[in-house]
């Protein structure tokens, strides 16, 4: 079979896996735009992410069972078609509830496509080991590239384009798989041998869930910090978070040098935690300072996700079912991470916003500008607070009309930078507890990693 299978089918399967797993994070950079366009809350918009990951977590294993029953080719092709159709619905959604519903349907199709792809890959590439490597790498690449691609599309076109562009890509991936589906339909023969399903690897899947929660924290919180806290544009934030997938590519080169999956998983979890702790202790609101932590997280996620996936699938059959468990664990981890962190950072950002405004007002009151000007500035800042409830306020408009008196003008310009410094401090510090919690989750994953044993393929 493998000798007759053309490369386009491997590419199509890898593309399908990458596309679906990118979707769990691709909207991260678009969330602020969706938040504004659909006039919702931070907690509400988080469900655009959570819903997809939750349905993926719940549907992955049933989808794998379906693939085994009706044929992986048909399941993958239908799954991709559903994914494309739901993507179109996401792209035209004009309410949050419609968008969330379409995301749920998208995840159903995605779960079918990803798990069926793992069932198809061994026959396509010639070995289970190679199949797992292709599948895990495509998934890790997709997940890592997702935010950057989403950010660029949001900035250059719109957040809707993220979903609309997936339609032709998903359909293009489905075309080479259709041949397998037609073969299954014509012959009634499944490409895979039906084998008894063994128990899922508890420790590897548990570790995957914990690490995924930590990685979700890294991606989601960093993007929010860059866009909502430091006021970067989506494309600016996309460029910044590209450091993570680039580092992940470096990490994927390191992996083959170390045969021990446990060592790779442990090192990866430590790096992810270290990177998150670094983000928790940023000494200044400077984009460059996010790069070293991102490099650690990127290398770490590549090492830990591939090692744990290999451990979870090693010696276990059928691959689709166990692959389904790993997908389920990863996405459940993302959901848990987002659900645990969202209330923490929304509360923290509200408190830090108040503290920053208080500190900024103190800067104004203690300055040497004349009292009437002070009160005017304090008043305008108060107005900004009212206008931007629940967000870190933009102070630029407050300082748009500078006083004509040169002394006052210089003093007010100084005030502006001092006030901005207080807001930057508040915005940056607001994310620290959540980053630290993410780091803790990454470290806790060391326990199941220590308990996991891999059975070689």
């Amino acid at each position: 079979m493998s000798a007759a299978v053309p490369r386009p089918r491997v590419a199509a399967l890898a593309l399908a896996v990458g596309l679906v797993l990118a979707d769990s994070s691709i909207v991260v950079l678009a969330l602020p735009d969706i938040y504004r366009d659909l006039d919702t809350s931070v907690a509400g918009v988080t469900w655009v992410l959570i819903s997809f990951n939750l349905v993926m977590a719940l549907a992955a294993v049933p989808a794998a069972l379906l693939a085994r029953r009706v044929g992986p080719g048909r399941t993958a092709a239908v799954g991709l078609a559903i994914f494309a159709g739901a993507g179109l619905a996401c792209g035209v959604a004009d309410t949050l509830s419609t968008l969330i519903l379409a995301r749920c349907v998208q995840a159903l199709g995605g779960a079918a496509a990803v798990t069926a792809a793992l069932e198809l890959l061994p026959a396509t590439v010639g070995s289970e080991r190679r199949a797992v490597t292709v599948w895990a790498s495509a998934g890790a690449t997709g997940a890592a590239l997702g935010p950057a691609v989403g950010g660029i599309l949001t900035e250059l076109v719109s957040w809707q384009s993220i979903f609309l562009i997936q339609v032709p890509v998903a359909l293009a991936a489905a075309v080479p798989i259709l041949a397998v589906a037609k073969h299954e339909a014509a012959t009634g023969i499944l490409q895979t041998e039906l084998r008894r399903t063994g128990r899922p690897h508890l420790w590897a899947n548990l570790a995957l869930a914990m690490v995924s929660a930590a990685i979700a924290a890294a991606l989601f919180l960093l993007v929010l910090l860059l866009i909502e806290g430091w006021r970067l544009s989506p494309i600016g934030a996309a460029i910044v978070v590209t450091a993570m997938p680039l580092a992940a590519i470096l990490g994927s080169r390191l992996g083959p040098l170390v045969p021990s999956t446990r060592a790779r998983a442990a090192a990866g979890a430590i790096l992810v935690s270290g990177g998150l702790a670094g983000l928790a202790f940023l000494p200044k609101a400077e984009v460059a300072l996010t790069l070293p932590p991102q490099i650690l997280v990127g290398i770490g996620l590549s090492l830990v996700l591939s090692a744990l996936t290999e451990t979870a699938l090693g010696g276990r059959a059928p691959q689709a079912i166990h692959g389904g468990w790993t997908i389920s664990a990863r996405h459940a981890g993302v959901v848990i991470g987002l659900l645990a962190l969202t209330p923490i950072f929304t509360a923290d950002i509200a408190q830090q916003r108040e503290d920053a405004i208080e500190a900024g007002t103190a800067v104004i009151l203690d300055s040497n500008v004349n009292p009437l000007l002070k009160i005017d500035l304090a008043q305008q800042i108060g107005d900004r607070l009212e206008e931007e409830k629940g967000k870190v306020p933009t102070i630029g408009p407050v300082f748009e009309s500078l006083p004509s008196d040169p002394t006052d003008r210089t003093a007010v310009e100084g005030l502006r930078s001092e006030l901005q410094d207080q807001l930057d401090r508040g915005a940056t510090h607001a994310f620290s507890p959540s980053f630290l919690l993410g780091a803790l989750l990454g470290l806790l994953a060391l326990l199941p990693i220590a308990l996991s044993r891999r059975v070689d393929l």
């Binding site: 202790f281 900024g360 007002t361 009151l365 009292p371 008043q379 940056t428």
Partner: protein
């Protein structure tokens, strides 16, 4: 290198990289990069050596806000934003349950504290302080707020109260 050793090197390297990053960021002030804490308005805020009417007016405003905020149990900064406009004052009153009478008492107390602080700092002559206190005790809330917002006008008014001599106030101020 043996496979086991490579694994140990990888884990050791990961631990080292994580510790170095966190250590460097903490050493660079990562744990203290937070908004500066505002001062308790009930604590005395020392006056710096004021040079001229403008600086005295600034410190007078600050003392008056501290005194009023202390009495109301809010921060000086919150009160300053609240007193900026009638709408802000209304929101403040609703949020903290403070009616106009209570606010008026606090604002007058704040102004009196500012006069005392100015006097203690040697920035205001007792000759001026007396009439100022008398004025403050009598004025309605809106005018009291106006006096906090525009301490320069208050001090200028006091100057007018003493007479037309242009240099008298500067003479009375150190």
């Amino acid at each position: 290198m043996r496979a086991e050793l490579r694994g140990r090197v990888l884990v050791g390297g990961a631990i080292l990289a994580a510790l170095v990053l966190v250590g460097v960021y903490l050493a660079a002030g990562g744990s203290s990069y937070t908004p500066e804490k505002t001062l308790d308005p009930c604590q005395h805020r020392p006056w710096s050596d004021p040079q001229g009417l403008g600086e005295i007016a600034n410190q007078f405003t600050s003392s008056a806000l501290d005194g009023a905020a202390c009495q109301l149990g809010v921060s000086r900064e919150t009160l300053a934003r609240a007193l900026a406009t009638p709408q802000a004052r209304e929101r403040f009153s609703e949020r903290y349950g403070i009616d106009d009478a209570k606010l008026a008492r606090a604002v007058r107390a704040g102004l009196l504290r500012a006069v005392t602080d100015a006097e203690d700092a040697g920035a205001l002559s007792p000759l001026l302080a007396g009439p100022l206190r008398a004025t403050i005790e009598e004025i309605p809330l809106d005018q009291a707020i106006e006096l906090i917002n525009n301490a320069r006008s208050l001090l200028s008014t006091a100057q007018g109260f003493l007479g037309p001599a242009e240099n008298l106030l500067e003479g009375l101020l150190p």
